[in-house]
Amino acid sequence: MAAENATPATGRRLAVLGAGVMGTGIAALAIGHGMAVSLADLDRRRLDEAPARIDHQVRTARLMGALPGGREPGALVTGLSLADLMADGTRFTAVVEAVTEDPDTKAKVLADVSALVAPGTPIISNTSAIPIGELARATARPAELVGTHFMNPPCLIGTVEVVRGARTGEPTLDALRALLAELGREAVVVDDAPGFVTSRILHPMINDAARVVAEGTASAESVDRLMQGCLGHPTGPLRTADLIGIDNLVDSLRVLHDRTGDEGSRPCALLLEMVAAGHLGRKSGRGFYTYEYEGDQA
């Protein structure tokens, strides 16, 4: 685990918590830009699969010309907890949490992180919808918490939504800007609110697209083809849903619905049925579409 192959002291190192869709994607982005990564997940299976998934994403990004040339990939260390990864004295440039979109889970993880890392280390939440001000209550130093909504796949989407909580400090934002510049991402900084900008707009729209399919108005293919062909959406809302992961989509919609009361954000029956059936999108090989490779690759 951590102690055997960590390279502490010099260089920039990102800690990433959660080795799911986004945790592995963010790790791939950092590694592809030459930054070392320490990755934690309490699910041993996720952790064991992570190196191959990250490698797949780094290679995809390289193939697409989305990574800077001539840079050695950063090293990857994995562990079951942040405490494990820090046991040998490793310190981090920043910590990104990308654990399950559940307010209680995130609060607990963020409380642990702020108790463990050195003061002054930016703590970044990749939440899709939970207000940063709400999460900040769980941390020891609210000024050091900032939201950064990487989109999936992080290596291929150049813009990130940065969420400034009411208590987020200017030094934290500056450190984050420097980190994102190093990772070749363009930051758009917005204020705090449930779902911020992108999820507030996108998630209810995907929910509606699923309702259209459930009501029998059109197939998923037709919905996506219309949204692509007529409205310029890059992949269509239901392909996007499969890419996000239907379980995460439902979690984020619940967060939005609980905090805004907007009925358009109440997860529709079809999405709930898909989660119950394990049709989670690309990550499970089946969602609105079926996928031959992604189920076991990335």
Partner: protein, 100 residues
Amino acid sequence: MTMSSDRAVPGPLGDEPDVETGLLRFLELRTGRAWSADTDVFGSGGLSSLFAMELVVHLERTYGVSVRGADLQMENFRTVRRMTDLVARLRRTPADGTGG
């Protein structure tokens, strides 16, 4: 790598008829239309560039090669002939375990 010891000395680049036929079949199955060995698969009306990684995975799983480092570029996957050339070259050069 798996390569039988009595295999003939490989011919010039691209001389892998089974690979070429296999790739044409794979593309046809995946896209529902016929392709020729020299058609730009990512050209207008062709495949999304994201499909390139699927081609990489397919080559690796089907032909026992590993595509790493500088070989990971779209130009190598643009036509069936180029993919066939790549497989031929990678089969001749044993993986050295580096790259990435």
